[in-house]
Symmetry: T
Subunit: 168 residues, 12 copies
């Protein structure tokens, strides 16, 4: 399975140049896969949280997971509007995701937060890189969407980061 396709039957017309447009689509598909993977990882920690801050962190991760999930449909449909195909299955996600699965039996609250900081930082970087590709392709609509998601991702990083500080 190729990483990006424009199947004849599904080629929504677009006046953007094909090469640059394809790069945007390819990069956004990677973001969709990572959003799915990070959503599940955040829910994993939401479900297996423990310790005195249980409710506080359980709620925090639920809010963050919901925020990540809400980016998937708009991003995937951007790819379709550009005339390419988007994510199709769990296997497809596994193939494209860069978020690391964590299937450990027990992860402490502190470790959960730290791992999510790393993932969100990486996601922020990729969102910004994709924004660069949009500029090259003159795809202002995708760019504007990404701007909002960069802010939300940096907000998640900030919350998680401040929470891991040990100095009370």
């Amino acid at each position: 399975m190729d990483s990006i396709k424009s199947v004849a039957e599904l080629d929504t017309p677009s006046d953007l140049k094909e090469a640059a447009r394809k790069k945007v689509a390819e990069s956004v598909n990677g973001l969709v896969a990572d959003a799915f993977a990070l959503y599940i990882k955040t829910k994993n920690f939401h479900w297996h949280m423990s310790g005195p801050h249980f409710r506080d962190y359980h709620l925090l991760l639920d809010e963050q997971a919901a925020q990540i999930l809400a980016t998937i449909d708009p991003l995937a449909e951007r790819v379709r509007k550009l005339g390419y195909d988007t994510i199709r299955s769990v296997g497809h996600i596994a193939q494209l995701q860069t978020v690391k699965d964590n299937d450990e039996d027990f992860v402490s609250a502190q470790d959960m937060l730290k791992e999510l900081i790393d993932e969100n930082k990486k996601m922020g970087k990729k969102l910004r890189e994709t924004h660069g590709l949009c500029d090259d392709a003159d795809d202002v609509a995708t760019a504007s969407l990404l701007e909002e998601y960069v802010d939300a991702t940096e907000r998640r990083t900030w919350f998680l980061f401040e929470t891991t500080r040990t100095k009370k």
Copy 2:
């Protein structure tokens, strides 16, 4: 990775008998994995739909996907309340899912509907089997949740099935 665990650090107390309770937890985790996989498959078809009924089916599959997604958090948290661990990652889902990935370049609207009928019928059957395990375990809370999901799944099957009939 075992299919089901009760890690010492995460063993919520329960007065239900362990053997029967474990079977419920194991079966519900399978349902969670399938709900994720069917959610993504339904969104796949929502995104790659085409033809004269585009808007109608696009909306139908969006409603069905949202309905499936909404079952995941309550089911996963039932497992946690029973003292076991639940889904942790994309890989974990891939390992447990029975829903088949479809990464074809082009699927006609009619074939999409037919494939979803099959998946929803299988899910309905598994929900009912898990309900039987709840009865054995005296787990009335999980059972009640499943009753509602069986109805919703049968509704999805009914809608999809009537839509595929050729006689106008």
Copy 3:
């Protein structure tokens, strides 16, 4: 017209056994017919109420009628999901209903309440019997729906019964 049918063109697929499933469908169709009939009877009394408690009873019967009406669509669609046909016409209702029509010119408020107690008590019994048929058919979805309607029916009976007591 048979009391229950599974027309070839309308046979939603179901993994429940046919004999038991048919009994549920047949019984639920009777409930739908009775719900229609009791809805109209309750509105009849809502419209022809009189006496010093006019507003109080007029409102009471409006609430009860609305509650009864709201059971019809879910029940009828349960029958369709089971692969059978459901109610089709006023004549069909008349044929299946067990609720008695009351076309009297004048019914006193007290007699209205008493007559509705009887009808609701009968309906409660039939709902419970249908629930038994669901258990035999392993139809947990219909069963769960009925549980809620039994409670609502017993609430109507209780309100009507206490209201008819003469001791102020």
Copy 4:
């Protein structure tokens, strides 16, 4: 059972002339009976719909049924405010209705729509005739209610009619 009555115990006072007022009441009771019958027929088709437009038509008929049902209480209470008795039972409806029951095992989507066009056209005509009776009786309140229902009925006819055209 007479078609219209003004029972002594239920004779709301009115300054409208009795003969003309009685004609309005009689005609409105016929409309109430037909609204019930058309509501059930529309729900019949909502429940037994099939084919590629299933969801679209299923929703269309649900909206139309809800719109028809909403006319019943205001119309029946107009009769009561005029000092006459209104609908009392399923049998009473069967006696007064002019809508034809359709208990066929299978009706195609196209035939359903066509049959409903006829029923709604007839209802539109009767609503307009009753409006004429209101003018004779100087019953401006009933008249104003009917004006709104004529528009809604013509809207149902329009939607159904355009949908049956074969030229795509």
Copy 5:
């Protein structure tokens, strides 16, 4: 003070004929005065209600009073749109009202209801008469407003009337 005026400084332009238009304005001003007076009378009884149906009747009269009050602004502004002056003061109301003040120390619940039946019946008649003047003046906007108020007034009469019946 004249009963109706078209002060030079306040003569909103209108293409309706002056004589007929003036009659409508005059009649509507009488309705505004009566609506004020009946509002206060209904509140009087709302406040001085007593006996076993206290809450039921207290609420009934509050709903009726609110309904009457809501007619005042639209009616008064109709007069202004017709180019005439409308109600100006308590004294103006007292001069035009036909509703009878009841300053009795004690009025039984039954007598309250009966007195309000009479007032509402009279108001219904006047609303209908004013509607006739609108027809003569081709003032369809005022007419349409009155149609709605006739229905509401007949509803109040019906509720009050049925409540005064002694046969329980």
Copy 6:
């Protein structure tokens, strides 16, 4: 008609001393009458407003009228809770009101505002005096209500006053 009464049939029990309590009730009834009169006067000006600030002042007076009207029911019911009778009719209001009727054919916008400043200032003073009577009677509930109304009245005065200033 006495200015205040405690009719045997309507004497809600109260542990407040009778003499002081009666003074509160008497004063509050005056406030209710004035609220009615000021409500009508404010609506009078709302309806007969003219000039370049028409919409602005029309809205201002509508808001102020609504605010005044909303004080009537709570105040009148305070009197009833104190065991006395309250306002009964237009005539009763005319007898107790201190607000002056203005039936002039034409009042300029500026004069309307000035006249309302005076009335609201007087009302503010009376509210404060009644608050003093509540303190004497230990009637903390009426007092608390009045505190809120004093603020609202001073707000009306402030808005009206600033609006009449000529220096732009």
Copy 7:
């Protein structure tokens, strides 16, 4: 292009007589065109307003424009329900409109209000004339719609008119 048509492919069935019905449709199409033109003219003035009452008039015209726009869909769909064709394009509007375009570089606030008074007065007259055609055609549904729009149009005229008075 004819002013009104009943194309075979779009002839919604109607029991109203054709000649009178056609006159209604023709007249309503003119109203739709004028509503479009007046909407744009009102927005023109909303956008190019200036002077000390800027915000007040800017808001006033926005409310009026929104009110005018809201009449277009119901009126156009009345024509379709009567079996005729309705407005199709900017050119079609330009052909039917009687509202005069004003493309002046600068229009003072006072002149804007005056010009809108004229247009709204003319629209009120045409609405009333079309109502007369409805009466001839027995088209009570269109008539009822127009009654409401006449009132709204007269309200716009009243507001605009009072605002242009110079006497403060």
Copy 8:
């Protein structure tokens, strides 16, 4: 167990003088206990109501119970803000309550209302007495809260009292 305490670990800082402040806290704790007891008594009668006014009184007592319950959290938290401990258990309530338990098998509707009049009258008196203690302690925040509750309590008494009058 003392009636009021300021445990070292729970002594919220306050600038109010300790003696007077303690008296307020002590008195408010009594009010909390009585609110609990009266809430349960009102629900007792809500549940065991009977007779022709069943629905009316059932609703009345539900509203009153909800109103009483809503006072508990604000009052208890006032005590905590004053630096004292508040209610801890059913036994604690039983110890402090002055409301009398009524465990009779059957209480007529009339007797229920009468008993609640007494309890609410007593509560009104205690609220007023506590308000006096607040004045002594300069505790304006608690005082303001109580003013609102006195009004609500007098409203409950008024409703109950008027309802028990026998003269219809």
Copy 9:
């Protein structure tokens, strides 16, 4: 006072067998008493909470208390629908409750959570036992209600339990 009664005046009719039905009613009354006691205990800890997690735990216990309180009215009314009497007073609760009062001056946050885990675990067990009695009595309506409450109770236990873990 007996633990359960069916007073002649309050015997709502029921077709369930008396012996089994009585057992359900008796058990549900115990649940109502415990819900009251656990509600107060949870509020006790909500009010006397302290330490660095004050707001988090204060909110947690408020949510849990509200959830417990919401079970009381439906459960008590189930008993009434079964034809028996339910809870009547604080004394009645004290007699039936199995929840232990805790009137200690100071309880640490950690001890509060632990004590509530125990109470909720016990409540979960009793809810499940009562569910068994419902099955014996064929009381599907009470059973369905309890299923929902078992889940909510297990959720409370889970939250409290995870929060007490010391491993951060």
Copy 10:
């Protein structure tokens, strides 16, 4: 009439350079004209739709028309904030619009969809070109608005395009 003006009386101050700013204003006025024209064309097809997908496409075009209309006020006001004049009349629109009027008697559903694809594609291109002008003018506010509209326009194109595919 010039295509763009900055009348002295309407020159909102701006720190953006005049030449580039004027180009933005000119281009945005063209977009406003086209939005009006496309709104009317989309409503044209919404009103004259026919065939088996009537309701589905009727709703689709209503949503798209509403979305287009909602861009007009923000765009026109951007021009005013830049210090230039914007659209004034139907004639002004006709002069600037590039959308083609279609006044054909009958247009098939398929042809309607195809024609709208073309218009929306052209609009998308113009929006993007105007965005380029904003970049030159450093007008970030207009640019941000356009980004959102580009996405919405591409969404309309995508929906319309997929719907025209013939492969079911």
Copy 11:
């Protein structure tokens, strides 16, 4: 700049005595300045919070800041209603505020909470003192406003205080 003024152009009329009234206005202006300063300080800590309770305290301080901000407009407008001038600028606030600025680079969470306890305690005291001035001036409206703010301030102190306790 004087601390309080009654500029001739802004002297809203008031019947309260000038000397006492001026003292109230002066004191309220101090409260407004302190509310601004405490709002900013609370937001300062909301923004620079860190450590394991980050989200919990971040939310707590956001709620408290919003509560403080909401007091500013009502208080400032009380001063205007009393006929005096209120806060005009950042410099004016700096001149009147008694809240201490904290511009430290790093403040630990614990120190933040402690500092806010002190500020809120001081504010509570000042609110109470101003309430005393209102009593002297017979300004019941300002007094009532302050009563509510005292409670809210004591609530903030309580929450902050309990949170700083070290005993878990």
Copy 12:
């Protein structure tokens, strides 16, 4: 106090280059300070407004003040997400603000509007300059936020400017 800091304890991680990022943070802090200052200045004029347009301008400035305030939290939190410190106190604001305090005793309405035009124009310019810094720093999230605020600021300028024109 430095104008911008990245304290070790508060250095949220960021992949943006430090020098450019610092410039953005520094500039945004200036915007936060100015937003506070302009908020207070706008409220100053909201409170001290006078003259015939009092209500209109009082409301206008309230809307504008609320719009300005709403920018503060998002901007300040952008600085924190970039790893720098933000505003801490009234003194800090005074140090950074460029908005000029106006503590004049009396400012005419016209002068208020003119002064606010200047401040808003300056703010628009600074927002645009900061947007330029964001482009240099590749900080697309802050940039997108600023785009929205530029539009809102230009809207405030436009409203204020048009309002000051003398030609009516």
